[in-house]
């Protein structure tokens, strides 16, 4: 029982890590809560559904097309909503509320197009999982853990080693200084939205292989991803990993004693405790614009 709960915690945690990673890359460059990240995640799943189930496209091509479209959606959100706000020098709260607006708009657009019913990407019957150390794990769940680990490594190397990664860190640490040395911060922000949203798309497709697709799936994802980023240390990539796994384990071990319906309450309880007692999160990195 305990092995299964820990495993479930790691699987849920991996999903939170993936959402939190995309969210963190975007947060580093823009420094506000991109709440609509969750709806990009849901849109990724629906894109895959459209190509794979409705148009019968090859799985790999559907996957690549959906991820590209999710990435474009993220860029479009930045161009049409956040860019005018940046021009207005809007405070963070205005970004957050506008982001809620984007979220509500796209989520209901998805519902209008595809209906409120539950859809699935699965075509064959559900296969029985493998038994490892007294726990059951399915192929898809192994894939989720592996992909989340690979994406974490790639993101970490990309941010730390690559030239664009360097520019992202520069914009994150000191936007004016970055401009002085000739970094186009608008281009870096677009790159961050493209990469972060593509990751949201990948995550959305992975989770819809594991569970189902429904218009409201983005809310849970972004809430958990955001909580994971904050308790891990907002803007920190190792923090996103720690926060995601911590949250996944805490939720799943929490329901060992309490009913499963309380997962959300546990997650937000943890968030509020962190916000009040240790707002800089587990890794404790303080960002410049942090208002606490």
């Amino acid at each position: 029982m305990i092995q299964q709960l820990i495993l479930n915690g790691i699987i849920a945690g991996s999903i939170y890590v993936l959402v939190a990673l995309g969210f963190t890359i975007i947060y580093r460059t823009v420094k506000f809560f991109h709440f609509a990240h969750g709806v990009v995640f849901a849109a990724g799943a629906y894109f895959a559904y459209t190509f794979f189930i409705l148009f019968n496209t090859n799985p790999l091509i559907s996957f690549l097309l959906s991820v590209c479209l999710a990435s474009l959606l993220g860029i479009a959100i930045d161009r049409f909503v956040y860019y005018p706000l940046r021009k207005n020098n809007a405070p963070n709260l205005v970004y957050l509320i506008a982001s809620f607006g984007v979220f509500i708009f796209i989520q209901n657009l998805l519902q209008l197009i595809f209906g409120a019913q539950i859809l699935t990407l699965r075509t064959g019957p559900i296969k029985e999982g493998h038994h490892i150390l007294g726990a059951v794990i399915t192929d898809i769940q192994i894939l989720i853990i592996v992909v989340s680990f690979i994406l974490f490594l790639l993101t970490y190397l990309f941010i730390q080693k690559s030239k664009i990664g360097n520019a992202i860190r520069a914009v994150s640490d000191d936007p004016i200084g970055a401009r002085v040395v000739g970094i186009d911060s608008e281009k870096i922000i677009l790159t961050a939205f493209a990469i972060g949203s593509a990751m949201a798309g990948v995550t959305g497709i992975l989770i819809s292989l594991e569970t189902n697709i429904e218009p409201t799936m983005g809310l849970n994802a972004i809430l958990k991803g955001m909580i994971a980023s904050i308790i891990g240390g907002i803007g920190s990539i190792p923090g996103a990993i720690l926060g995601g796994l911590f949250l996944g384990l805490a939720e799943n071990l929490g329901i060992w004693k309490i009913q499963a319906g309380w997962k959300d309450a546990i997650a937000f309880g943890i968030l509020i405790i962190f916000l009040l007692l240790k707002p800089s999160g587990i890794t404790g990195i303080k960002t410049e614009k942090e208002q606490i």
């Binding site: 506000f32 005018p84 809007a90 709260l93 984007v102 509500i104 409120a116 009040l276 208002q291």
Partner: protein, 289 residues
């Protein structure tokens, strides 16, 4: 005709919610995103008291509002330490926790099955169950809320609230106990939101957690922002337009499977447009800081 009165009653309930949230968000500048939680706790309190113990809805209304005010103090506590979007997230989270309690404490709230058969108010032996009499009841409470919040915001007390919004440190430097004022604002706002929740429960006669989701909180926030931050008339106008306008979709003959998401899409789009072009709303003069 009955349908028209029904829309007016719902509008009245939303006006109470919007006015009370405007006190917190518009006048004091505290980003609270869990407003519907107050309505939720009061609605459940007065419904459960009436259903299980046979207590008069009037007493239930008062007790529910007091309990909501107490919850307001709890939700207000983070505002003493957090600002801006972090406070928004914390209050959002508390809203989800309250929703989660309503949904999962099945032995008390019956969870997603909801509470049917909530008795109506009665006055001098007459039941207030027709839509006309209920409209008068709701309008009375709208008037009480409006006068109370107008008097609060026009008083020296209200000036301190605006001081907190404009420059918290200067207000603190003038020797005002900022924390105390913030808590009072949350308590008063929650009290009136609680009244709105009880009015809703005894009118519809059925409540379930789905009436109190976080999206409702955002809708109420949209009404405040749309009407204008720190403008009481704006709140009345904002809530009225945003309740009545989507109903017009129904008159166009749209089935609810299209009208419901379309209404939400309009709300979402409106939030974006307001934030980009007119953060102070229709009648307001103040913006988010």
């Amino acid at each position: 005709m009955e349908y028209l009165i029904h829309i007016l009653i719902i509008t009245g309930i939303y006006i109470i919610l919007t006015l009370s949230l405007n006190l917190i968000v518009g006048f004091t500048g505290l980003a609270a995103l869990g407003h519907i939680a107050f309505a939720c706790i009061a609605a459940y309190t007065s419904s459960l008291l009436a259903l299980n113990l046979g207590i008069s809805p009037w007493i239930g209304l008062l007790l529910g509002a007091i309990l909501a005010a107490f919850l307001g103090m709890v939700i207000g506590l983070p505002s003493l330490r957090l600002k801006g979007d972090y406070l928004a997230l914390a209050t959002f989270g508390l809203g989800i926790i309250v929703y989660s309690i309503a949904k999962n404490w099945v032995s008390l709230t019956r969870g997603p099955m909801g509470l049917p058969g909530i008795p109506p108010f009665s006055l001098l032996g007459y039941e207030i169950s027709s839509v006309w009499s209920y409209l008068i009841l709701v309008l009375t409470f709208v008037l009480i809320t409006y006068l109370a919040i107008r008097n609060i915001t026009n008083s020296p007390f209200g000036r301190i609230l605006k001081g907190i919004r404009e420059d918290e440190i200067a207000t603190l430097a003038m020797g005002k106990d900022v924390n105390k004022y913030k808590l009072i604002v949350f308590v008063v706002g929650a009290f009136f939101a609680g009244i709105a929740g009880s009015l809703y429960a005894h009118y519809i006669a059925f409540i379930d957690p789905s009436s109190f989701t976080v999206m409702e909180s955002i809708t109420v926030l949209l009404m405040v922002v749309f009407g204008g931050m720190g403008s009481l008339k704006g709140s009345i106008v904002g809530a009225s337009i945003l309740v009545v306008f989507p109903e017009l979709l129904r008159f166009l003959g749209m089935p609810s499977s299209i009208a419901a998401p379309l209404r939400q899409m309009i709300y979402g789009l409106l939030l974006i447009i307001l934030m980009v072009w007119r953060p102070q709303g229709l009648l307001g003069r103040f913006k988010f800081k």
